[in-house]
């Protein structure tokens, strides 16, 4: 009879105690795996979201704040930069030769769904979905944005042209999560709210022309409106031009009273009064980001900053998220060690009542090392059994939470999302089990056979 079967019979004999100790191990391992998987998913997610372009150009301030507000729609956006800065990247501008794609983004508005949920509104161009990719498919091809059936991208509306203040300007595209949670569909109209808090005045209505297929990025949780429409909304003139506007645009003031529903009467915002919150820049060459970084960040009298999002995300992960994860892992390791000690206590406490069985096995020819190994195998079986249960528990919980997390954040948590670090757990548990099983195993090794057999009389 193999040793593992003898050990398993011993476990069965103490079913309740064995189950409880294995369960405590399972819980410890489940928490540990949850930390590992959630962290790795979060890192992957953060890195994927920041892919598809080389630089984010935005107002001066915290680089991390620029990345968080632009890529993940988290926190306050930085102070905007003039539209003219965006023009440096296009149509023969100063940086146009280095630039493959430049996508402007205007942040600062929000959309309050009927259920009260708040989503960021991003004024942008169709290029965001046409020319920028997000991450890569398993086969290495770039992931492109796609629209759910019946939907399409925003239309290109060139500044100050007729289409820029017609229907095309007032079109919107909704991320998959935002659409699912707010119930928005193609053809619906939304009124963005001025400001991020959802408490400002309501802007003109935008018609939804497309709903994005899920991307697993922060864009799933946002609403995108045509940037030309954004510039037609109240309060979106370049900071400091309000007085100019008040003095020089009487017709615009008149329009203020009626703009709430009739956006067709808006006057276009002159280019010199426009601002962008940030610009996503995809460079033509590998050298481009370095050249642009130097030109933008170190140029004379610079008013903007260029940030490599991946670098900032890595810095965030290494500087803040990493240590927190390490702390959580230390805590979970302690939980697993406590569970392992409970296995030690359970087996050790049973040794006195099992000395008789051990003596019988010795009388049948089992060597001291054989009975020691049987106890060690028992400890390993309990630890591994608990560990495997913990793996199933963790992935089951992740699977159960997945739809909720995906709906709330756009982050996809597959229940089969494994991390290589989980594989390390198996030998680690065997080592741990061997360590905690050693004490009771030595006790088995030292069993006085004649005495134990005499005691059974």
């Amino acid at each position: 009879m193999p040793f593992w079967k003898i050990a398993w019979r011993n476990i069965e004999q103490r079913a309740l105690a064995s189950s409880l100790t294995a369960l405590s191990m399972a819980l410890g391992v489940a928490v540990m795996i949850a930390v590992i998987v959630i962290h790795s998913v979060a890192v992957r997610q953060f890195e994927q979201d920041a892919q598809g372009y080389n630089l984010i150009v935005g107002g001066k301030g915290g680089a991390l704040q620029l990345v968080l507000s632009t890529v993940y729609y988290l926190g306050q956006p930085l102070y905007p930069i003039p539209y003219s800065y965006y023009e440096k990247f296009i149509d023969g501008g100063e940086f146009a030769d280095l630039t493959e794609v430049a996508v402007p983004e205007c942040l600062g508005d929000s959309y309050v769904a009927p259920n009260g949920e708040l989503f960021r509104v991003v004024g942008t161009t169709p290029d965001l979905f046409d020319k920028i990719h997000y991450g890569n498919n398993p086969d290495g091809t770039p992931k492109v944005y796609e629209f759910q059936p019946g939907g399409r991208n925003l239309k290109n509306a060139l500044p100050l042209r007729e289409e820029a203040f017609g229907q095309a300007a007032f079109e919107a595209v909704v991320g998959s999560v935002a659409a699912a949670r707010s119930g928005l569909r193609v053809g619906d109209k939304i009124n963005p709210t001025h400001g991020l808090g959802g408490e400002g005045h309501k802007h003109d209505a935008f018609t939804i022309v497309g709903v994005l297929k899920p991307t697993g990025t922060a864009n799933d949780r946002a609403v995108f409106i045509n940037i030309e429409g954004f510039y037609l909304l109240e309060g979106h003139a370049l900071s400091g031009h309000e007085e100019h506007e008040a003095a020089g645009h009487a017709e615009e003031a008149a329009h203020e009273h009626e703009h709430e529903h009739e956006h067709e009467h808006h006057e276009p915002l002159p280019l010199d009064q426009r601002e962008v919150t940030s610009i996503l820049v995809l460079c033509k060459s590998a050298l481009g980001p370095t050249v642009l970084d130097t030109a933008i960040n170190k140029g004379e009298g610079h008013i903007a900053q260029a940030v490599a999002p991946i670098r900032e995300v890595t810095r965030l992960m290494d500087g803040i998220v990493g240590p927190i994860r390490l702390l959580l892992l230390v805590l979970t390791v302690l939980i697993v060690i406590v569970a392992a000690i409970s296995i030690l206590v359970s087996i050790y406490n049973s040794m006195s009542e099992r000395s008789h069985d051990i003596a019988v096995m010795r009388a049948l020819g089992a060597s001291r090392s054989a009975v020691m190994n049987i106890v060690l195998v028992e400890s390993i079986l309990l630890s591994l059994g608990g560990g495997l249960l913990g793996v199933l528990l963790a992935h089951g919980m992740i699977g159960l939470a997945s739809p909720y997390v995906e709906a709330r954040t756009g982050v996809t948590l597959g229940w089969l999302q494994f991390d290589w670090q989980e594989i390390v757990l198996i030998p680690a548990l065997v080592v741990l089990a061997s360590l905690v099983g050693f004490l009771p195993a030595v006790s088995a090794y030292r069993t006085d056979v004649a005495k134990a057999l005499a005691g059974s009389r």
Partner: protein, 221 residues
């Protein structure tokens, strides 16, 4: 086959003095022979069996089984030797509660270092009338059935010597005879020598050779 010569064993008392248990000048058992050892309780019968099995080390003397001096074999080798050549039937059966009848018998094969022969285990259980109880655990077996499992376990490795320590002490008179008959019959069939320790007249009276410990052991005299 078995030769016990000048074997001495004593235990150290808590006060530091030595308590002599065994002093046996000679005991010889031939192959296939069935011998009963009688003696009063505490006379060293179990110590003698443990010494022969190599479970208790003697202070002096020689215990040879088929020419191999058990006292000279290192512990690991002694365990293996015991597994292969000596069968044990205990007073309290000593079946492992968590194991089925078949598993208890198979357990006897586990430590021999030889391939396990489940057919042999099943055959022996059928031989002792438990072919229909293979998967039953000890708690589901009667006292007599438990002892029969113990007999099958003791013989499964085809030992040359069976040591039986008061094998009928915990059994009612009706089953006592069945167990004795079974032990004698199986040992005869398998040509296994048997050294049976008992204090019961009705058991010892059935054997041709009965040794009184008082005559064997100078300490008990």
């Amino acid at each position: 086959m078995l030769l016990v010569e000048n074997v001495k064993k004593s235990y150290r008392e808590p006060d530091g003095s030595n308590l002599a248990i065994l002093d046996i000048p000679r005991l010889a058992v031939d192959a296939g022979e069935q011998v009963v050892i009688r003696g009063r309780s505490g006379g060293g019968k179990t110590t003698l069996l443990n010494a022969i099995a190599g479970l208790t080390m003697v202070d002096a003397g020689r215990i040879a089984l088929n020419g191999t001096d058990v006292t000279r074999i290192p512990e690991v080798g002694r365990d293996r030797f015991r597994a292969r050549h000596i069968g044990f039937v205990f007073q309290t059966f000593n079946l492992l509660a968590g194991f089925s009848a078949l598993e208890n018998v198979m357990l006897g094969m586990t430590f021999t270092g030889q391939p396990r022969d489940s057919k042999r285990a099943v055959g022996l259980l059928e031989r002792v009338g438990l072919g229909h109880r293979l998967s039953h655990k000890p708690a589901a077996l009667s006292v007599g059935e438990q002892q029969r499992v113990a007999v099958a376990r003791a013989l499964v490795n085809r030992p040359v010597l069976l040591l039986a320590d008061e094998p009928t002490a915990n059994i009612d008179p009706m089953h006592q005879q069945q167990v004795i008959d079974l032990l004698r019959e199986v040992c005869r069939d398998e040509n296994v020598a048997m050294l049976l320790v008992t204090h019961a007249d009705e058991v010892s009276n059935q054997f041709e050779r009965v040794e009184h410990l008082e005559n064997l052991n100078r300490v008990a005299a």
